[in-house]
């Protein structure tokens, strides 16, 4: 078990390294001068030179690369070109909001999606099934920034039920603030998980061991949940990982639409201002999450499937 964990971690390191390199290269091939962007067209050449030196932009590229890698290893991600705040501080300030949003969206998506899938599978080709399939289709088709704007206009602006922007302070107001953005992200999640659960459960319900459970005299609920759903959750748990990743990337647009603080917003603002250090930091956080979530998914598999444990 511990060995398996170490092996998986070992796999994650090259991935992370590759992502770091890609981020660095992508930043440098972007057109435009960060010093100009930060100080404006009116800046004097001396000011620009001084800025470049302070930000470490005047050394050769390879040296910048190693400085960057070294910085990541020592958790020194540099400072924002604009506000001069350490990038780590900016991330620490914004990350909790993004995690909060992602978790809330995941929770809503799971709570809605999996039961929908079960209802559809157990009522195959009947009205509830058709309803769930229609819902999934809509969920897939509708872009989250559009759905977000729609919800915002309807429930916040017109009805006034929810706040228009921000993230709130105490628990109640945070829940109040997060509801619509999380719902926006949860919509596609529920559509995805509902469909996945339906397909997977339908397949499992045709298996021999489900017939065995019936031959034992088990009640239909027991057959569906104990023997069916638990086995159907194997592919769904992989789907959950993928879906968590898409929620994370979806949070960028949603944070913008609802004007919420978060890593997504931080990134968008940084890109607009060509704030290298912050972009690097933000992308790094996302990449870190991708690697972490994949690792978690592998572990979840070990926990729920005894057949993986032996290997």
């Amino acid at each position: 078990m511990a060995r398996y964990l170490l092996l998986r971690l070992g796999d994650a390191i090259p991935t992370l390294f590759l992502v770091l390199t890609l981020v660095f290269v992508a930043m440098r091939i972007l057109p435009g001068d960060p010093a100009l962007a930060a100080l404006g067209d009116a800046a004097l050449p001396e000011q620009l030179a001084e800025f470049r030196e302070r930000m470490g932009l005047n050394v050769p590229l390879w040296q910048q690369y190693f400085n960057f890698l070294g910085g990541v290893l020592t958790l020194d991600l540099g400072r924002s070109l604009l506000s001069n705040t350490p990038v780590l501080t900016l991330i620490a300030q914004n990350l909790p909001y993004t995690i909060e949003l992602t978790m809330a969206a995941m929770l809503m998506g799971i709570v809605a999606g999996i039961p929908l899938g079960v209802v559809a599978a157990t009522n195959r080709n009947k009205t509830p099934d058709t309803g769930v399939r229609l819902f999934s289709l809509i969920g897939y088709a509708i872009p989250d920034f559009f759905l977000g704007a729609l919800l915002l206009i309807t429930f916040s602006l017109n009805m006034g039920w929810f706040p228009i922007n921000g993230a709130g302070t105490d628990f109640v107001s945070r829940v109040h603030h997060i509801f619509l953005p999380a719902l926006t992200l949860a919509f596609v999640k529920a559509a995805f998980l509902g469909r996945l659960t339906r397909t997977s459960l339908l397949e499992v319900l045709g298996k021999d061991y489900v017939r065995t459970a019936r031959a034992k005299g088990a009640k239909e609920n027991r057959v569906i949940y104990q023997h069916g759903l638990r086995n159907a959750m194997l592919p769904v748990s992989t789907g959950l990982g993928l879906s968590l990743l898409s929620t994370l990337s979806g949070s960028v647009a949603v944070e913008l639409v609802f004007n919420r603080p978060g890593i997504g917003r931080l990134l968008i603002d940084a890109i607009a201002e060509r704030d290298y250090a912050v972009i690097q930091g933000g992308v790094l956080v996302f990449a870190g999450f991708v690697v972490l979530i994949n690792l978690l998914m592998d572990l979840v598999y070990v926990v729920i499937d005894p057949r993986v444990r032996v290997k």
Binding site: D208, A213, A215, G217, A218, E220, H227, D305, P306
Partner: protein, 623 residues
């Protein structure tokens, strides 16, 4: 019971069924298909008494499994319709509500299935799965249920039952899994056990164990057993009475003795005649199966077969000290964690026009040997020569040419034909790949071969889906023949076929041997078929040949303990032997997985009679 249906069932259930454990009258099952309702079982009737075993026997598609599932009411109620009467201890089952039916299933009748692996939930320990039956029917709960599950595992003769309780199905062997299924089915001491092909997927020695176990438990519990099978040998072994099914109908129903000795129905006689029996080998080498007309039951006696073996000259295929081992990967940085000694120093000669059978149980290395000879996998060492040419020394290009002379037929005729290529093209393809002639010649060749394998030339443009399993296997044979090979490696080529079809395909293979002077390397686990078709036989165990020689010598006078055990386990289609409880060795088939540093011992062989070679066995075989 509803008043209306009670009247209905009274009419069709005569008094004869009274007192039986199970009484089935005029059972009709239909499935909803795209063409509307199609009747799969049309009007089956039988009774089973306590302590009695009734076999329902038939070939694939006869409706025997559907009969079993109809009795358990396990068919999807929306897609199927069951009519007639099924009475379990005088209680009509077909009119019970779903809830009432649930309290019957598992409690009053238990069922075991063909594939124990897929019939067990992979995510639950076997202990939990057995305990579940007990808790569902309120027999035990919590710890007490687990305790009882342990006792049940012990009852089905699983060694160290307590330690097996927390095992998952994947870590058990096939035989053990079927024992777990039996423990589960019998947990609540049901009056009736329905066994649907419970031993078909098992090795023959394990099959003997499971059949024995069912018989013993039946005696102890006094339950009735409904045994569904396609195997007449198994029928003779277990059944007191037998129902023969064909196309959804019971064509004959009688005591097993009467069925075997004086069957009235033509189909029954054909089925029995087609059963390969051990001990029918002839002095004059391989002999055809007698062929019978399915409908009339008229026997066409097998004609004498000339000797096809070319004894002079060098052998067509010669294998010396063939070794194939597979490493079991360990971790990322450590070496292999073990090694499968799949084929260990295997040597044999195959002469022109001769059939050599490799027999043994799963994991014995017989298929690996076949694949290594084809160089579909690279052996570690050894020599393989075809007419004196060492094929292991050939480069890719020349190996491809060499494959012309050695072709293979596989077990599953469904999986080995491309569904989108017409069979004429499939047969012509190897001919064209090897550039043996023009397209027109290839087509002519394909048509000729279709005729030779008993199909007709105008079928060439049809697709595989339009053929039955037996016909497809004929097509596969035709395809292998299109290159005019000298040797055909037939890997379990008739194992998946129904008995009557199996007999026909075996006869065909013998005919082709006569016509083309073919040599067969016939890989099979079916001893009785092997006895029919082969000149020579090699018995494999854990990757090694433990005994080989002329079929009559080896089967008539087996020397090695493993050969003896294998022979003893083959079901004998003779119902008079049924009452005897045969001594059955409860050992599992051993694994050829060894530690990495394992060095195989040097084996010695002795000659039991001319050309009959036996491996000298060590202490591990002394009982």
């Amino acid at each position: 019971m509803h008043a209306t249906s009670a009247v209905g069932t009274e009419r069709v259930a005569p008094k004869a069924g009274q007192g039986s454990v199970l009484s089935v009258r005029d059972l009709k099952t239909s499935f909803l298909t795209s063409r509307g309702w199609v009747e799969i079982v049309n009007g089956i009737s039988f009774d089973i008494d306590a302590e009695e075993t009734l076999a329902v026997v038939g070939e694939s598609g006869s409706g025997k499994s559907v009969t079993a599932l109809s009795i358990m009411r396990l068919l999807d109620p929306e897609m199927s319709r069951v009519e007639g009467s099924v009475r379990l201890a005088d209680r009509e089952l077909l009119t019970l509500s779903p809830a009432e039916m649930r309290s019957v299933r598992g409690l009053q009748m238990g069922m075991i299935f063909q594939e124990a692996m897929t019939s067990l939930n992979p995510l639950q320990t076997v202990g939990k799965q057995i305990a579940e039956v007990l808790t569902i029917h309120d027999r035990y709960s919590g710890q007490a249920a687990m305790k009882e599950a342990e006792r049940l595992l012990d009852r089905v003769r699983i060694p160290a039952a307590a330690s097996r309780l927390n095992d998952y199905p994947h870590s058990l062997s096939g035989g053990m899994r079927q024992r777990v299924m039996i423990a589960m089915a019998l947990a609540c001491k049901p009056r009736l056990l329905i066994a649907d092909e419970p031993t078909t997927a098992l090795d023959v020695t394990i099959q003997a164990q499971i059949l024995q176990l069912i018989k013993q438990l039946q005696k102890e519990e006094g339950m009735g057993v409904l045994f569904i099978t396609h195997d007449m040998g198994v029928v003779a072994e277990v059944a007191d009475r037998t129902v023969v099914m064909l196309e959804g109908r019971a064509v004959e129903s009688d005591t097993t003795e009467a069925i075997f000795e004086r069957a009235r129905n033509g189909y029954t006689r054909a089925l029995i005649a087609a059963v390969p029996k051990l001990g029918q080998g002839s002095e004059n080498g391989p002999q055809h199966f007698p062929t019978l007309d399915r409908k009339t039951g008229i026997v066409a006696a097998a004609r004498e077969r000339p000797d096809t073996v070319r004894r002079e000259g060098e052998p067509v295929l010669s294998v010396r000290n063939l070794v194939k081992r597979f490493d079991i990967p360990g971790g990322l940085f450590s070496g292999p964690s073990g090694r499968v000694h799949a084929v260990e120093k295997v040597s044999f000669d195959l002469r022109g026009g001769e059939t050599l059978a490799l027999v043994g149980e799963s994991g014995c290395g017989k298929s690996t040997t076949g694949r290594a000879i084809m160089r579909l996998i690279e052996p570690q060492s050894g020599e393989i020569s075809i007419e004196g040419t060492d094929i292991r020394a050939l480069d890719k290009e020349r190996m491809r040419d060499m494959r012309r002379h050695i072709q293979m037929i596989f077990q599953d005729p469904y999986a080995s034909l491309n569904p989108r290529i017409s069979i004429g093209d499939a047969i012509a393809e190897p001919f064209l790949t090897h550039k043996l002639g023009t397209k027109a010649q290839a087509r002519e060749k394909a048509m000729d071969l279709l005729e030779r394998v008993g199909l007709s030339a105008d079928m060439a443009s049809r697709f595989p889906s339009q053929f039955s399993g037996g016909q497809r296997q004929r097509i596969c044979i035709a395809r292998a023949l299109s290159l005019e090979p000298k040797v055909i490696v037939a890997d379990e080529s008739v194992s998946a076929l129904d008995v009557s079809i199996k007999a026909q395909v075996v006869n065909l293979m013998m005919d082709l041997q006569e016509q083309f002077g073919l040599s067969y390397l016939f890989i099979s686990h079916d001893m009785a078929v092997v006895e029919r078709i082969s000149h020579q036989v090699a018995v494999m165990y854990l990757g090694e040949i433990v005994e080989c020689g002329p079929v009559r010598a080896v089967f008539g006078n087996p020397q090695h303990p493993y050969t003896k055990r294998l022979m003893a386990a083959v079901p004998v289609p003779d119902p008079s032997r049924r009452k005897q409880l045969r001594p059955v060795n409860n050992e599992e088939v051993k694994s050829p997985i060894r530690p990495v540093d394992y060095v195989p011992p040097v084996r010695e062989y002795r000659e039991a009679s001319p050309a009959h070679i036996v491996q000298v066995w060590g202490d591990d075989w002394k009982v």
